[in-house]
């Protein structure tokens, strides 16, 4: 714990420095760039929180027992959806700046005119608010109920969660699709891809998994997860491994169909991302998001190895940031932007997320001690 106390001022300092840079970038770096950064970090924060909530809901949906001992971690990570709400409300300021569908000239655009109502600022904002409200509902039922169970030890929560989980899956699909289509795909409203929501889901789930794995390993180092062993890590690693493949499958399927059909309004999306410096970033993304994690986790022992898992989880989070950057930043132009504004945003938001998680980690129990399946989960062996 002594190491933690030393780290805390460092995180606060980095966050404060980042905040200064964020303010500075609003003044000095141009509004478009500021808002692109803000939207990027809103999406990252939101996908991390929602991906973690998905892990919790998935456990209840399939009545998984192995994940009960580590469930408190995605539950805590899911509370990142709370700060995501104000961040998202501020991000609404990006609508007139970055989103072509909200501009008055869109009414005369042959494609956008038909989508004018859907893309208009009022309806866009309403959809985002609905998505937030649905997330809060999921958070209250799944995470709030679980925290209460610590004290009450009432197994009724498990039955309630099991009934709620299927409904939440439908809610989750709606929310992640809305956020993906509105906030990311909405930057290029002439372009559309049916599978885009699934692509963003794969990234969100991966980021939730990677963060969960990192926090599990962190708590294990502090001996706070007594009984969680390689078998549990193996399942987390297996999920990470499987979903890197899923992510690349969806990403490539989307690319290949557009590449084959070669329709101008579809292929422009990749044309931008395969030209100039973006090409290098695309190759980096495929390597970091698929090739390296695939071969790093392919063997059975690798998925149990804490050292290996920690590195891959770090890499996965970085790759998710790069993935969202790759989706959002081409809106600023054909050249990738990366300098002090991006670094400041990264410092500010990563620092903020770390502080939030640290705060959450220090409250309450590290395991859902009221869950009747905890013992069965701890006895899980491969």
């Amino acid at each position: 714990m002594s190491q933690n106390k030393n780290a805390s001022p460092l995180i606060w300092g980095a966050t404060a420095l980042g905040a200064l840079g964020v303010l500075g970038s609003y003044v000095a770096a141009g509004h478009e760039r500021f808002w692109a950064n803000w939207v990027l970090w809103f999406v990252l924060l939101f996908t991390l929180g929602l991906g973690s909530l998905f892990i919790v809901a998935l456990e209840h949906l399939v009545s998984a027992k192995w994940s009960v001992p580590v469930r408190r971690i995605p539950e805590r990570l899911a509370t990142l959806l709370l700060p995501a709400v104000p961040v998202g409300l501020i991000a609404l300021g990006a609508l007139p700046v970055l989103y072509p569908g909200t501009r008055p000239e869109a009414a005369h655009h042959p494609i956008l005119a038909g989508k004018a109502f859907w893309l208009s600022i009022p309806f866009f904002s309403v959809r985002t608010l609905v998505a937030f409200a649905l997330c809060m509902l999921g958070l209250a039922v799944l995470v709030g109920g679980s925290l209460k169970q610590d004290a009450t030890k009432d197994p009724a929560f498990n039955f309630r969660a099991r009934k709620f989980a299927p409904a939440f899956m439908a809610i989750f699909a709606l929310v992640i699709t809305l956020i993906a289509f509105d906030w990311i795909s909405g930057l290029t409203p002439e372009w559309y891809s049916d599978i885009f929501g699934v692509y963003v889901f794969a990234g969100a789930f991966l980021s939730g998994l990677a963060a969960t794995a990192l926090c599990v390993l962190y708590l294990q180092d502090q001996n706070r997860l007594e009984g969680v062993r390689g078998d549990h890590l193996y399942n987390l690693g297996g999920f990470l491994f499987a979903f890197t493949v899923f992510w690349s499958y969806i990403g490539f399927a989307q690319y290949m169909l557009m590449w084959y059909a070669n329709l101008p309004d579809e292929v422009i999306y990749y044309k931008v991302r395969l030209a100039g410096s973006w090409r290098a970033i695309t190759i980096c993304l495929a390597t970091l998001h698929f090739v390296i994690p695939f071969f790093a986790l392919v063997t059975r022992d690798a998925k149990k190895d804490p050292k290996r898992l920690r590195r891959v989880a770090f890499l996965m989070l970085g790759a998710h940031v790069l993935d969202m950057y790759w989706l959002i930043f081409p809106v600023l132009g054909t050249k990738p932007h990366f300098s002090w504004p991006e670094l400041s945003f990264a410092l500010f938001f990563i620092g903020g997320i770390l502080l939030w998680i640290r705060g959450a980690m220090q409250k309450g129990e590290d395991m859902p001690v009221g869950d009747p399946f905890l013992r069965e989960g701890l006895e899980f062996r491969l």
Binding site: F252, M256, V298, R381
Partner: protein, 380 residues
Amino acid sequence: MPETSYSVLGIFETPDALMKAIPKARAAKLGEVEAYTPYPIHGIDDALGHRKSPLGGMVLVMGILGAITAFGFQYWISAIDYPIITGGKAANSWEAFIPIMFEVTVLFATFTAGLGMLFLLNKLPFFGHPVLSSKSITGITRDRYALAIEAEDESFDSAAAAQTLKDAGAIEVEILPAPDRSPFLTSNFILRALGGIFTACVVAGLAMFFLTKWFPLLAPMKYMQDQPRLNAQKASTFFKDGHGMQQPVAGTVARGFLPTATGTQEEAASLVNPLPRTKEVFAEGRKVYVNRCEVCHGSLGNGVGSLTAAYGGKPANLQSQMFREYPDGKIYWAIVNGKNAMPSHAPYLSENERWAVVHYVRALQRAQNAKDEDLKVVAP
């Protein structure tokens, strides 16, 4: 092969007793220790100290090999052996190869996993296993836990092994004979196997024959055959004009047919022939000249072709002073745009063919007006 491999089997009543006995049996170092239990027991792999199964590595290697094989096949077919431009894509488009590479990777990997497990690791042709001949085998599949010390060579001390197992708490010890590995491909077996395969083929073939004969409407996969489609040179109701074949979009240019000499002939004079003067280029130019130019311009390029008399016109005499002094670009321009009565040849000749024929015309002119030093070049 000397039949020395046999094992000593100790029977235990509980999984705990078995787990406790494993380290003792291993410490005796008499032979390979193996356990047989009715269901998997957690931690038994580590306790037995078996080395990791090589199957995962085999699958990985074969999977990668499958990916490379699929890529190689497709690359060779579509880029080297029979390149056809489809959908305007380059012949060696890796994107199009990926789905098949994926399938073949999975095919190689699963076959390796299945067959490697059965044949390489479980030695399939031998159906038996020594433990099956144990008199306790029904117990081992139900509620008994067996530990075997298996012989590794002829110096195996079965008495010591039996004693070790007894000391470790076995309620019963049994010495198993060597597995029966007598040749299993007997002529009887081969005949029966072939007979079985033959009968299966005959039955399946007859069944298919009569099924399709008596129930012709049950063609299982006819949707693809019967779907509406556009045929070249045939009418169709799909398009407004009623034709199955459509004109390309205005401004469409085929590969290698880019119109480069669109200005006046004087402007084209500065174009430089991009092709080298090699044997292949001259051969190509000759082929094009014979097919497209010779009937009018004549085999010598002197404007006396076989069509001249019938058609009554006066094709250009390419051997005249004027044409000999033409720059390459102006000849090229004439091929692309046509000149006087000569129509444009741009629709028939690709960029390379046009320039090749320019080279050939130059060769024709030079042949009729050879200089003395031309003789020297031929020498070696």
